[in-house]
């Protein structure tokens, strides 16, 4: 039980297999420290979506150990995993998943619903989170009154509102035009600068390259794990391979 207390995610020999001999993850080892901003990048079918599910505790590994915020995922019951997600993990999805017909504040406040925060406080904190993503002027707008980029910023605010130890973003710019996508990525950088640990799952090399750490997946295995210091080196390495 040696856990470094500041590791937000720790995968040890994690595999995930599905019936029919599909191995989505093969003995993956990965440690994400507090305050990191990393990309999990790979083509579709590379296992990066499974990584998202496993890191987000939506799915358990078939074998191996996954620790999130210090908790061994395989030891936790479904309801404890739910509580772990409620308190320590924020999700941002490609298609936002906002509730139509409810304004931005209510959508963001739902991020605290299952953490046992009373309604009034949920709304106050939702307004603060919306201010963080610079949408304080859109508080009472419903999703269909917002642009795609604004919707994604509302979704980011919802993921942030509970001050999670880890923010998982699944193709956060996938449904956005380039300009909106840039704003969203800028926002993620800002949030990381103020201390949030962020993991972006993407198939887009350009987006991955803009992040300080890039974990590349192929066929369920990590093929490279490069940090900013060695950015140019890793780039040439990949071009060469």
């Amino acid at each position: 039980m040696t856990v470094s207390s500041d590791a937000v995610i720790e995968l040890r020999d994690a595999t995930k297999s599905y019936p029919g001999g599909v191995h989505a993850l093969r003995r993956v080892n990965l440690t994400v420290e507090e305050g990191e901003l990393l990309a999990v990048v790979g083509p579709s079918g590379s296992g990066k979506s499974t990584m998202l599910n496993v890191m987000g505790t939506l799915d358990k590994p078939t074998t191996g150990t996954v620790r999130v915020a210090g908790y061994d995922v395989s030891e936790l019951s479904d309801s404890r995993l739910s509580a772990l997600r409620a308190r320590h993990i924020g999700f941002v999805f490609q298609h936002f998943h906002l509730a139509a017909g409810r304004d931005a504040v209510d959508n963001v406040a739902d991020g605290l619903l299952y953490a046992g925060v009373p309604l009034k406080e949920r709304r106050t904190r939702a307004r603060e989170a919306l201010a963080k993503v610079r949408l304080d002027h859109r508080c009472s707008h419903t999703p269909n009154e917002l642009s795609g980029g604004e919707k994604q910023r509302v979704a980011i605010a919802r993921a942030l509102v509970g001050d999670p130890r880890l923010l998982l973003a699944d193709e956060p710019t996938g449904a956005l035009d380039t300009a909106s996508g840039e704003i969203v990525m800028e926002l993620l950088h800002e949030l990381n600068a103020s201390g949030t640990t962020i993991c972006v799952i993407t198939h887009d090399n350009e987006i991955a390259d803009s992040l300080p750490r890039r974990v590349r997946f192929k066929d369920g295995e990590i093929v490279s794990d490069a940090r900013s210091g060695a950015r140019s080196a890793s780039r040439t390495e990949e071009v060469g391979s």
């Binding site: 939506l58 309801s79 739910s82 509580a83 509730a99 953490a115 009373p118 919802r158």
Partner: protein
Amino acid sequence: MKHDLKPSRLCARDILRVGAVGLRARRARVVLSALGIAIGIATMVAVVGLSESSRADLMAQLDRLGTNLLTAEAGEDPMGQPIKLPKNAVAMVERVGPVQHATATADVDARIRRSDVVPEERTAGVTTQAARIDLLSALGGEVDKGVWLNPVGERLPTTVLGAVAADRLGITRTGETIMMNDTRVVVVGILKPLELVPNLDRVAMVGFPAAERYFGFDGHPTTIFERSTDASVEDVRAVLARTISPGNEAGVKVSRPSDALAAKAATDEGLTTLMLGLGAVALLVGGVGVANTMVISVLERRQEIGLRRSLGATRGAIRLQFLTESLLLSALGGATGALLGAVATYGFAQVQGWMAVVPLWSLAGGLAATLLIGVVAGLYPAIRASRLHPTVALNAT
């Protein structure tokens, strides 16, 4: 370093808010599926309300009219011959201890015509009866127009018409004359309908002395009316026939007119049961509608379920959300139905001139049925929703 990961429970207000989310987003469907429940509950509440209102009305009528009136009619002797009650039958009945009041009527053989130009064969469907002047008070009847027979009038060729008789003869005011046999008789009064003895409504009544003098009536009463204390009705009933016609009791038919009204209150029960059954079927169909709506709702909202799971909702929280939604849906229908049923009861009672009675138990029963349906209809969809795997739910299209 680690603190225990205990999932938080939603407070009641949040449970309701979350349960209502799905309803607010699909209003038309909510209205339609709640309508099924509403129809069922409205039917049941209205059926119970109407039957209770009608029963209450009959009971009030019985209270007003009293249940202590007995009648004894002359029937036939074992040989099939009509028997005659003794002339002093009323006096004999009055001597029975608990009897408070006794009076009589008698069939009189006098054919009634509207006027002497109407041929004798064409009678008006109205018969003549001799009546004692205390008859009206004994029956609790009331005069609509004119006066009742008095000690003077009972000796003169004057008559008082029952409500139906006046109608059949076309007489709307007193002072007109009709023909009894060949005697011109003045109508001095018209009665209001007699609720306890409706057959007297079709009769023209003359005094005993007048009947004897003008129509050759022999003075033997045909029907004895008697009122006693409420407690002794059965005792009096047991001795009445023997008192009136000693030795020929079998020929005297004793009955209690209020029994007919009481029977009317009871006969409604069969119909009420049938209608309640129909209401229950409507409610069942409504429940199936709610279940159907909930199943579809769960299918359509898999992404929402996935999102909520990612936000930290436990399986229990998802189950509770859909169960609450189902409960709210059927409660909405139930409340609307109870209101509609009550309004229908009041409206119909108003038209009938009854006092509307909507028993509290029928409302409580409707509510309980509604909640039961909400749980039963919502349980399966809710369990299905809670068993969805978060990743499957999130990736559903």
